[in-house]
Amino acid sequence: MKNNIKIFTTGIFLLTLILGFAGCKDYLNAPPIDAITKGDALKDEAGVDAVMTAAYKKLNDNVLGGKYQVISELMGDNIQGNLLNGDFGEFYGRKSSVFGTYKKDFYLDTYQSIYRANTVLENLNVTAGRHDNLEGQALFIRALSHFISVRLFAQPYGYTPDNSHLGVPLKLSTEIKPGVRATVKQVYDQIIADLKIAETKLPGDNDGYATSWAAKALLARVYFSMNDFTNAYSYSNAVISSGKFQFESDYSKRFSLGLSTEAIFSMVNAPNTYDAGGELRGQFRSDFNLPTLRFTPATYALVNNSSDIRKVWFDVVKYPGEIPTTKYNKDRFSVPVLHLTEMKLIRAESAAELNNNLTIAVGDINDILNRAYAGTRNIPANSSAALIKTNVRLQRSIEMIAEGDRLYEIKRIGAKGENVDRRGAVWNCPGLVLQFPQEEITSDKNFIRNPEGGCN
């Protein structure tokens, strides 16, 4: 019997031990170890910095690493897309619908980068020495993302005289709420306001992150898209005159690992650990397989003459009958998002539009012509504004091939009253605007979606 009691006590002891374990509250406060709580993640400057870095990363992953360029090119008029199908066929056909993972991820991640930027802005109080730098970066990324979104998901600036037409949801905080579309004017006003603060807060050099020059260059692009040539000239001129960026004599360097001297803002490639521009290679690269995206003969015709060095941007030999680009035929490169060539193009066209500073405009265009035609072609120093404009627009359509620029030129010039789409569409047809993803539409009954329909 004594023995029995001993066994009994041992048993009860063991049971109590397990019971104690089970009843212990701390035992159940065990969040996943790899997850960091918001408080820990944002407890100091380094933490905020890491979230800022994540905003860039998101932009490269699903936006500027290629999706933005791919969607824009497909909706433009450079691509030979009649055999494309799926999401690409839909973009190319300019008849986007509520579905499509490619677009959904693109939309979501553009806003996720904004969420990250807003997270940084809401936690600047823990930062110290880098307060202004981080604030500037966050505002820059927020502006860039809103700009990307509004140009694809809404009719362009100038579609209505007061720009009261619907834009995209403006996200200025991390508060979770249903998306409500702001007007295009509100979106543009916010973008400019953000960039103007960023311009003052950011340093001139920033180790691969956004700089004050990047903010200025983006302002130049934003104003240019608004056909506000005075400001476009002023900001592009500021960037060019800074002397921080050198005009490349060699084309191949713009997309390179060693960072092009023209790059004002890039998606940075870190060898072996982080590849920028994956989607650009995935859809355009042509030295190994025939890529999905190829160009029209009309696009190729722009460079198909004996003197244009840029002819090498296309490989018409390897795949007979197909015209893929060679611009992205590298294992690794940084993606220049804003570069000096674009600034020169903006400054020259703005000058021509303003009919002012024409000498500078001629200089810009001749820099580009000299490089393109190895000095065999340029325009006279006393060229008229009209001649400058014609030349700039042509050179722009060549220089920016496969960089996703053409769609916005069709829209910008369209808003000025001129249809330039080589596929014959009217600049403001509904199909040139992307439909919002289903998830945005279903999350709120009052959400107003874009009208659908083709363009031709």
Binding site: G23, P31, A50, S97, Q112, D207, S443
Partner: protein, 1020 residues
């Protein structure tokens, strides 16, 4: 055969006493146990309870207990499926006693594992289906759980694909969850094991199946707990049902070695029919001309017409082969009163019908039971297995998926110079170069200590662990990557899952009178789950796979470290879980049974607002046949009513959703990146299931006809739904408790002994279950906002979970060949619009079941099992491209029924290469219509086995006992109206929500295997 007659003649001889003088404790009892036909019954238990002596009969039915005193004793003879018999024997020296036992068709004394204990079938008040290990091992399925198909009512098993090691989707009494996992809880010998099919996501279009490591030959039985009365003891993990797997243990008696071996061949059960190269070109040309073009149609990927006309590659044929299967098992079972052991080793290699795909498994198991004293016992279980899965791409990832989609018959495998053609999809090239394998290692181990300080009182302490390590290595050589540096690219994903479980229970049995008994169980349990591994993965440019080149692995890791890109996490997805539970069972006179149980679970998955959940259940049973008015009935042998009501739960969601999480996210620009992960919901809580069950169990005509008829009603509230966030917030979804779902159904199972003569026996097992499923509420969420991934299934109020949400297709306008649709209101329209999508079909069948027949004649036995599903729909998402717009996809041959000229009455509209031809269609992928919705009803001959058991004397000459040779055919016949291939579909899923909402959606899904296996099992 004569020997059997002789034994039969001896049948009436039950007791033979040889009067010989004998000294104390030197007497013995020996003899034979015979079944109802007079054949020896091996493995039967012989017990002298008063002396605590137990043994088991040998393979020839003999037994012997030595060291007995002379005098009268009561001997208890028991065996699964037979009525337990108590018989008095007077020991006098070397006593011989033979016993005959009668089968117990109803199995009232059958031991049923119920979770934290066992009960006899008689005592069970919940709904429990039991499947013997023998039935599980009978089929060479990719993983053991697939063998449950058609075996138990209310258990719907949709076998995964023919990919080696692939898993199945199992639904117990319908589906009551949306975003939380809807799979049952799997418990092996008391260990709630890791069965998450999403450990490796959906890499390569296959959900890695952790259950594939479990060896079906080790399984003694599987119990499926279906209602709250049974599964309630598992509380918050019981809502989807619980599958209890019990492994084999050592048995008393002389050591027995069992050996079995199987060899098999396999191919695909069904294959969609595609057009040939020439036909494809003709269809393309027809579309081209229809579109108003002239000349020859353009061809994809730079192929010229001349090349195309000279090529006719059968890609399906190129990526498949005759699969081979072989399996060897050896086990040793031995036991004395004090120690019993079961030691087993197994090897099997399933080389599937897909070229390059196999699952090879080695397993080892030791189960030991030690009982040194009458107040202490312990058992130790150790099971180790290693499964190596040679992977191939499938579905959307390539391989056989390419063969059914973008690998066109006009594409060559090789260029003229003998190199691989690579301008378009070439799955042969990929399979040839890709080196991809996943190695699973699993250690399932547990120790149980049991103390019995007083009579009828036991205390148990159990410590268990389930360690699962999955290392996946994928290597694409330079031939595939084309990197300018001349190197290939290697990836490694390394995932270790550590699952610890501690349980303590106390059990007390109070016998008030001889007739009334109360059994009390109280327990506590703690579980700790975590994963360790490199969340960043490890990758780098190398010359070979990391598994073969450790140097390259370390170099790649170093590079990643230098760039802050390598992330190792100790404690990934950590979840802690702690519970208290109690169960009381009262029985009176073997007639009335009452069970009350409750469990309180606490989980780290929830915040302080809802950390604990309470899950009670009550159940009762009334054995009417034990009442006086039926006791003597010759017609009714068993009649039992039972019912239960209770609350169970489900919390099968990722941890940490209740607060705002941030994660390390590799690096950018050489600096570490930390990303926000989710939208927090501090009020997140348990999904709750209130279920009611009522059933009648019966046995008539000497138990020649027996069965069970059951009704259940399950209402899930606070359904966890991961949705509803506007993407302009930067997130798509957050977990919320908003929905309500109803499942209601009927189950019938019938077992009959149709013919029984001395030599011939025919038995039938039939079961059918019906389930009605309805979404009652989704709160303020929108139907179109809850998606079954890419599968065009939605959650619609008033419709079942996983409703096909499509535009209705009316047919072709004979005048112009264009499609006619129905708009939302049912009016005809020729403009396609996604706004006209409505609920038109469902992924869940109305009825599922199985019909088994066994014919035995002397040593021969023929077993068949037909399984079936009636009702429900299959939606073929790949048909959008195979039968829709003519693109660079393969075209199925049922396109022959299409419009070609005015006046044609056809199923499919005029061919076109341009989506704009069909007004309103923006994209081939948006062709979401009933054009591709099919009737999912099917029946298949799941199993056909012919076996022959060698006559004992003959076997003995060969030095063997119980030798059986057999041939098994699996999926030999399939009856279906579905033209797109296999009608049983569990595609690769993106997440649990997809898995809940989209079974029976096909997207280039690999067909099931059809196989023939030959085998031999013996013991000596």
């Amino acid at each position: 055969m004569r020997v059997f007659y002789l034994i039969k003649l001896c049948l009436p001889v039950l007791l033979l006493i040889t009067a010989l003088t004998a000294n104390a404790q030197t007497s013995s009892l020996a003899g034979k146990v015979l079944d109802e036909t007079g054949l020896p019954l091996p493995g039967a238990s012989i017990q002298i309870k008063s002396l605590g002596r137990t043994t088991a009969t040998n393979t020839d039915g003999t037994y012997k207990i030595t060291g007995l005193n002379n005098g009268p004793v009561t001997v208890t003879i028991s065996f699964i499926g037979y009525q337990t018999k108590d018989q008095s024997v007077t020991i006098n020296g070397s006593t011989t006693a033979n016993f005959d036992v009668k089968p117990d068709a109803q199995g009232l004394d059958e031991v049923v594992v119920v979770g934290y204990g066992t009960q006899t079938r008689r005592e069970v008040t919940g709904s429990i289906a039991k499947v013997s290990g023998e039935k599980i091992a009978a089929l060479p399925t990719p993983s053991f759980e697939a063998s449950l198909q058609g075996r138990a009512p209310g258990v719907q098993v949709t076998t995964g694909s023919g990919l080696a090691g692939s898993g199945s989707v199992i639904r117990v009494r319908g589906i009551g969850s949306i975003s939380a996992g809807g799979d049952p809880l799997y418990v092996v010998d008391g260990i709630p094991i890791t069965s998450d099919p999403f450990l490796n996501g959906n890499r390569g279009a296959m959900n890695q199946n952790p259950l594939a490591t479990i060896n079906s030959e080790d399984i003694e039985s599987i119990e499926i707990l279906k209602d709250a009365g049974a599964a309630g003891i598992y509380g918050s993990r019981g809502a989807n049902g619980v599958i209890l797997i019990t492994t084999k243990r050592g048995k008393s008696g002389t050591p027995t070695v069992n050996f079995s071996t199987k060899y098999g061949l396999s191919t695909y059960a069904n294959k969609p029919k595609f057009v040939s190269g020439a036909e494809w070109l003709a269809l393309r040309q027809e579309a081209w001309i229809n579109d108003g073009n002239t000349g020859l149609a353009t061809l994809p990927q730079g192929i010229t017409w001349a090349q195309a006309q000279n090529t006719n590659t059968d890609w399906f044929d190129e990526v498949t082969r005759i699969g081979k299967y072989n399996e060897q098992n050896i086990s040793l079972s031995q036991g004395t009163d004090k120690i019993k052991t079961y030691i087993a080793a197994n090897h099997d290699n399933n080389q599937s019908f897909l070229k390059g795909n196999s699952y090879e498994k080695y397993g080892f198991r030791t189960n030991i039971d030690i009982k040194p004293t009458d107040y202490f016992s312990t058992s130790i279980n150790v099971g180790y297995s290693q499964g190596t899965n040679q992977r191939v791409s499938a579905a959307w990832d390539g391989g056989i998926g390419d063969a059914m989609s973008v690998a066109l018959p006009i594409y060559p495998i090789f260029n003229e110079d003998g190199t691989y053609w690579k301008n378009g999809a070439n799955p042969v090239r990929t399979i040839n170069y890709m080196n991809w394998k996943s190695v699973d290692q699993r250690l399932l181990a547990g120790i149980t200590m049991e103390l019995k300080p007083f009579k009828n009182f036991t205390i148990k302490g159990i410590a268990n662990m389930d360690n699962l390590q999955v290392i996946e290595d994928k290597f694409s050589p330079n031939e595939l990557t084309g990197n300018q540096n001349g190197l290939g690219h290697a990836d490694r994903w390394d995932n270790r899952v550590l699952n610890r479980n501690f349980t303590g229970t106390a059990n007390y049995e109070i016998n008030f009178t001889k007739k009334s008994k109360l059994t009390l169980l109280a327990g506590a349990e703690a579980q700790n789950f975590e994963q360790n591994g490199y969340t960043s993965g490890i990758n780098g440019d190398t010359n070979g796979p990391f598994s073969k080149d450790k140097g390259a692995l370390y170099a790649a890791m170093q590079t990643m470290i230098n760039n802050k890109a390598l992330v190792y996490v100790n404690g990934l997805n950590r979840t802690t879980f702690a519970s208290l539970f109690a169960r009381a069972n009262y029985s009176y006179d073997n007639r009335y049974f009452l069970q009350v149980l409750a469990r309180r679970d606490g989980s780290s998955k929830f915040g302080t607002n809802h950390k604990y959940g309470f899950f009670p259940a009550v159940s009762a049973a009334w054995t009417i046949s034990q009442e006086n008015f039926l006791k003597e009935s010759t017609v009714v042998n068993n009649l039992k009513l039972r019912t239960s009501y209770g609350i169970t739960g489900n919390a099968n969601i990722p941890p940490g959703e209740y607060y705002s999480k941030f994660y390390n996210d590799g690096s950018y620009n050489g600096n570490g990146s930390v990303r926000p992960d989710n939208v927090e919901n501090p009020d997140l809580q348990w999904e709750q299931l209130k279920s009611f069950d009522a059933a009648i169990e019966f046995g008539f005509f000497n138990n020649r006809l027996s069965g069970e008829f059951a009704y259940y009603n399950k209402r899930t509230t606070k359904v966890l739904i991961n949705a509803g966030i506007s993407p302009s917030n930067g997130f798509l979804s957050a977990y919320q408790n908003v929905g309500e779902i109803l499942n209601q159904g009927l189950e019938l199972s019938l077992n009959s002994i149709n013919i029984k003569t001395k030599d011939f026996k025919w038995t039938t097992n039939f079961n059918i279950s019906q389930n009605y499923n309805e979404v009652v509420s989704i709160g303020t969420l929108s139907a179109d906002g809850i998606l079954g991934a890419t599968n065009d299934t939605r959650i619609v109020i008033g419709k079942p979970v996983g409703t096909n949400f499509l535009v209705r297709y009316k047919g072709v306008d004979p005048t112009d060949g264009l499609p006619i649709w129905l708009d939302k209101d049912g009016y005809e329209t020729k403009v396609f619009s996604l706004d006209n999508r409505v609920a038109v079909g469902k992924v869940i069948p109305d009825f599922v079941g199985g019909l088994g027949n066994t014919f035995s004649y002397k040593g021969f036995e023929l077993t068949s099992l037909f399984t079936f599903a009636i009702g429900g729909n299959i939606y073929d998402a790949s048909a959008k491209r195979q039968l829709g717009i003519v693109t660079d996809w393969n075209i199925r041959s049922d396109i022959s029924d299409r419009w070609q000229k005015p006046g044609d009455i056809a199923k499919f509209p005029r061919l076109t290469m341009n989506t704009s031809t069909y007004p309103g269609l923006s994209n081939e992928w948006n062709y979401n219509s009933t054009m591709f919705l099919y009737d999912a009803s099917f029946m298949r001959l799941r199993e056909l086995t012919l076996s022959y058991t060698l006559p004992a004397p003959f076997a003995k000459k060969l030095g063997m006992r119980n030798t059986r040779v057999f041939a098994t055919g699996m999926n030999l016949l399939t009856f279906t109206k579905y033209p797109g291939g296999d009608p049983e579909i569990a595609r690769d899923f993106d997440n649990p929500q997809d898995r809940n909402m989209s079974p029976n959606i096909s997207y280039l899904t690999t067909p099931q295997q059809k196989s023939v296996t030959f085998g031999l099992s013996t013991s000596f």
